[in-house]
Amino acid sequence: MEIISYIIVNLFLFSSWYVLLFKKKNCLSFIDRLIGTFILGLAQIIFTEMLLGVLFKRLFAAPLFLLNISISLIVLAIAIASFTLPPSHQVRGEQESAFPIKGRKTTGTFPLPLWERGRVRGVWYILKNILSEFKDKTIQFFNIIKRDIVLLCIFILFLISVCWIIFTGYLFPSYTWDALWYHLPTVGYIIQSGAIQENITPSFIDLFINIFPKNIELFFIWNTIFLKSDIIIDLSQLLFTIAGVFTIYSIAVKLGLKEEYAVYSSLLFFFAPVIILQSTTNYIDIAVAVLFLIAINFLLYDDPQNFPENIIKNKKLPILLAGLATGILVGSKGSGPLFIAVLLVMVIMGKFIRYINPFNIFSSEYKKFSVKIIPPHPPLLKGGRGDSQGKSSFVLYLIYFIVPAALMGGYWYIKNLVVYSNPVYPIEVSFLNIKLFKGLYGGIIDPVPDALSRLSLLGKLFYVWREKVEYYLYDSRLSGFGPIWFILLLPSTVIAVFYAIKRKIYNFLFLSVILIVTFIIYPRNWYTRYVVFILGLGTLSFGLTLDYFKERQKTIKIITLLLVIYTFFTANSPCIMPWKIGEFVKLPAKERTIARHAPFNIDLQARQDYGLWVWISNNMSKGDTLAYTFEPLFLRPLWNRDFSNKVLYIKSENFNEWIKNLKGNDVTHILIKQNSIEDKKIQEFKRLVYNTPSWLGVSKNLAERFKVVYSDENYKVLRFGY
């Protein structure tokens, strides 16, 4: 039942938006409609969860399901109703198979009754067209890759890698440090209370659970709440990875590259160890980078030189999609405002440059690099059409970019401003030595690794890109981009910039400036997982490099294949060892726990907690509430795999008050440390009960109020009865 509801809600959600966008097939390419569907679906997920969680405090599976199905049905109805059918003589040939209405001859030019034309024919016509488009595009794609053996090999390696990611993501529970620390506890807190709200924070790391923007965590919830299990929660980022591959392809086509080169660019984006390894983790770095690239991709539609008039007129839609992608990004990470600032500055600068038109660059003749997905168009007037309409352009961006971006991402910052008087709490914000917002610290608190601390910025980048490491890890501290970036994409970027200047490919230069500027100003840009978006520049440059060298590209392709094979074989991590895979394959799903996994990255710090985690996983169930009284290593293992029990922090210096709080919160189990204050107080209480003379009428059962159900060297779990 859970799986069926998950499939139904996703099917409705994404198909309804795709059908709506299908109407815009003259404005958006096929691949952009797929990306647009992903963005609109994601926006709906975040919007509905926030509506239920923030406003109604009823973020549970049933209301979420009903709300989303209702919205999807409305979207679907609008899409079908607004679909304009071609005149009957144009679809006449298709009628026989497409609209088989009983007892009625369907060939010929006679008009069908209005309701049939509007509904039956409409639905069949759309469905048939959508399916035939998917079929055509698939055939077209396989025709491209089968012509090039190197590309075919890279594509096969890509497919195997994706299957492997799905397999390992399914097999292992989420095991990464930040996921166990705060990404997944955020999910747990929201699922247990049905509300998006502030929680009691006993430790510094718990503070992050409250202050971090949570858009991607809301997507993690989406992949858990219907299934009532965390089994695929760690595959959430894989969807962003695939969206990233599509996005790079789409940008490459917009730059005027041949489809073959665009496919090369897009597949190379995948072959970075940080992307392969993070695709099975509950981190958010790939999501942030891909959302940024998606926003740039849709902003590229706002280019009067590269797109015909019908696109310019309909540029509201791509700008809206860019705004939504940016908004989701802003609400995903504290550094989100930096991305929106760069995008806005670049858009304004782009408009300004187009307006002043230095060196007459926007009056060049018919361009070679016009977009192939859209029919060619006559050259535009000097200065670019529409650029003189600066005011309308500003209004357009305000309504379709800034407003959606603010709506999708602004809530978390406004909430922080209201609760903590600082939108980016706990980071202190100062300008020219004036403290604008008080916080706990300035910048990033994590210390810089020793190996990098004395190096210049370029030295740091050179060190990390050479990957002086003994293994890869999902968080990619001193590695992550792999050899393709350092050996192939860096020199390709130089060639591509030179080529773009020579051939006046301004779109490429524009996006290069956006990505490079963001990279330069991004704090700790040597940390590869923070700047995954720069791979987009490298892979697009590679496509341009292939185009530049044309006849000589064979050597480059062979080198590329060798590096892809190397990455394919080396992008694994010691966190998932083969013997563990062998062991987990034989285990029933319920027993594939983090404690059983004992991954290398947390094992040293967490091994004394495994017994407790296994007990919780096996014994805590729906209706149980576990109260903890100290700062645990990780919060996530205090929930079972279904997130069906509740977890609360309840502590008090006063024993009676503590008991009162436990009762008030319907606590069923208490987690305490051995020899802690609570442990001593409970033992004292038990002694008191046993030593009380029976003639006083005190029941010895009172001592059973704290029944020990689990105990090890460090912890005790007590069944709390009252």
Binding site: E467, K468, V469, P483, F486, T545, F549, T570, P578, G582
Partner: protein, 53 residues
């Protein structure tokens, strides 16, 4: 002449790739990295054999 210029750029490009490949693969940690990877794949093959035998 134009093609000749492109030839030179191409040779420089390939040379750069080769130099960067040498720089990348010659870091001292690469030996240990490769040993770890070979160990991982040997173990993987053993597990596959065990599962299918």
């Amino acid at each position: 002449m134009k093609e000749h210029g492109k030839d030179i750029i191409f040779v420089l490009f390939i040379l750069t790739i080769l130099i960067l490949a040498i720089v990348y693969f010659s870091v001292p940690e690469r030996v240990l990295f490769m040993e770890n990877e070979i160990g991982w794949w040997n173990e993987f093959l053993e597990v596959v054999k065990r599962v299918f035998s």
